[in-house]
């Protein structure tokens, strides 16, 4: 009894230290998650959005930990960050990483009205939350905190047993629906090896396509190779690279430069990187990553 009384101030000091740590963690993670969420709705590329959403979800997982929900924190990381976001990234990779969202407005005044609606929603929710008089946190229950997983399990398998069973039906339905939607009926017979070889020989290029001009004139794969007669080979640049927005101009520029530089320079003494050479600067190996460059 006396030992417990003597230990009480130490417990109080430890709890205030924990409260300080919790508030620091909360403010840091709140700022990080709000910034990541803002970046997510402003970034034009879907992959960046997915990564920023992962940042938000991981911050929320740590916030669940500080709010006394360790089981939900683990589920958040495993289900959301691990499964859902991986699924998002898979679909983004299938649909195409380069499918950048154009930030041009297609409906006139949409941003303005969206902003006004957002402000109205924020004011409404702030008023509701402000009037709700949310009290301080309840003192930790015996069923709360250390026994978090077992208390959740007890609730799920007693009071929420029927919703839990309905959830299993939902999951099976979702799996079936995904299989049905992702399945594609083959409308033509599958090409056999003979058909594939005939297609290859009958096409314009029975041989493999020429490689890019790496190390021939420039140290980048977006630079076309040169044919024996000196003209650049457009086929030598992969359409994945030449299809990107910034790279298209770079490749055409390089083609023009190659076509213009060759007849003028005598064979063997060509110096394409001469600084006094007129014309635009070299596109450079990173000329294909400039999505937002003005065209």
């Amino acid at each position: 009894m006396s030992a417990a009384l003597a230990a009480a101030p130490a417990v109080v000091a430890a709890s205030t230290a924990t409260a300080t740590t919790t508030s620091v963690v909360f403010w840091v993670l709140a700022i990080v998650s709000v910034a990541a969420a803002l970046g997510m709705i402003l970034s034009p590329r879907a992959v960046h959005c997915a990564v920023l959403l992962a940042v938000v979800m991981l911050s929320l997982a740590v916030l669940y930990l500080t709010a006394g929900a360790p089981f939900l924190a683990a589920v958040q990381i495993i289900v959301y960050t691990g499964a859902v976001l991986m699924l998002f990234l898979f679909v983004i990779m299938i649909v195409g990483v380069s499918s950048a969202d154009s930030l041009r407005e297609t409906i006139r005044g949409q941003r303005l009205w969206a902003g006004l609606a957002a402000i109205a929603l924020l004011v409404l929710l702030a008023l509701i939350v402000g009037h709700a008089a949310i009290g301080p946190a309840a003192p930790a229950f015996p069923i709360y905190g250390a026994g978090n997983v077992s208390s959740i399990a007890r609730l799920i398998f007693t009071r929420y047993f029927f919703p839990f069973e309905v959830t299993s039906a939902l999951l099976i339905t979702a799996a079936l629906g995904a299989m049905v939607l992702a399945h594609r009926e083959r409308t033509s017979p599958k090409p056999a090896q003979r058909d594939l070889s005939q297609q290859r020989v009958a096409g314009a290029h029975p041989t493999p396509l020429p490689g890019p001009g790496t190390y021939a004139r420039h140290n980048a794969v977006d630079f076309p190779a040169l044919l024996p007669d000196g003209t650049p080979a457009e086929l030598s640049v992969s359409p994945v690279i030449s299809g990107r927005a910034g790279a298209r101009e770079a490749v055409s520029e390089a083609l023009r430069e190659a076509a213009g530089a060759l007849p003028a320079s005598p064979a063997g003494t060509a110096q394409p990187d001469r600084p006094d050479q007129p014309g635009p600067a070299h596109p450079g190996p990173n000329g294909n990553g400039q999505e937002g460059s003005p065209s």
Partner: protein, 99 residues
């Protein structure tokens, strides 16, 4: 930290997600914004569970996560089907029912 702080953060994240749904055109990003809104609601549930000292809110948040996972699976499959038909992930392109 009082649960009110958590609820305020949840409100801010929810509004950001709603704005993203309104202004983005890529269906994938719209989906991500919906996920953000669901996460914000989960945070509010956890905060209220903390306020009342009961785990019922956490159980509800758990169910929200399950429903969100199922929704993402079906939604992304629909997106794949639309992309296969229209070769685009933009919501402006999926307008066959309009005319």
């Amino acid at each position: 930290m009082s649960p009110g702080h958590y609820v305020a953060l949840a409100v801010i994240l929810f509004v950001i997600g709603a704005v993203g749904v309104l202004i983005r055109r890529n269906a994938m990003v719209i989906f991500m914004c919906i996920e953000l809104m669901l996460n914000a609601v989960n945070l509010a549930f956890v905060a209220f569970a903390r306020q009342h000292g009961q785990v019922d809110g956490q159980v509800v948040a758990f169910f929200v996560m399950v429903v969100a996972a199922a929704e993402v699976v079906v939604g992304l499959a629909i997106l794949m089907a639309i992309f296969r038909a229209r070769r685009s992930a933009s919501v402006d392109e999926a307008n066959l029912l309009k005319y």
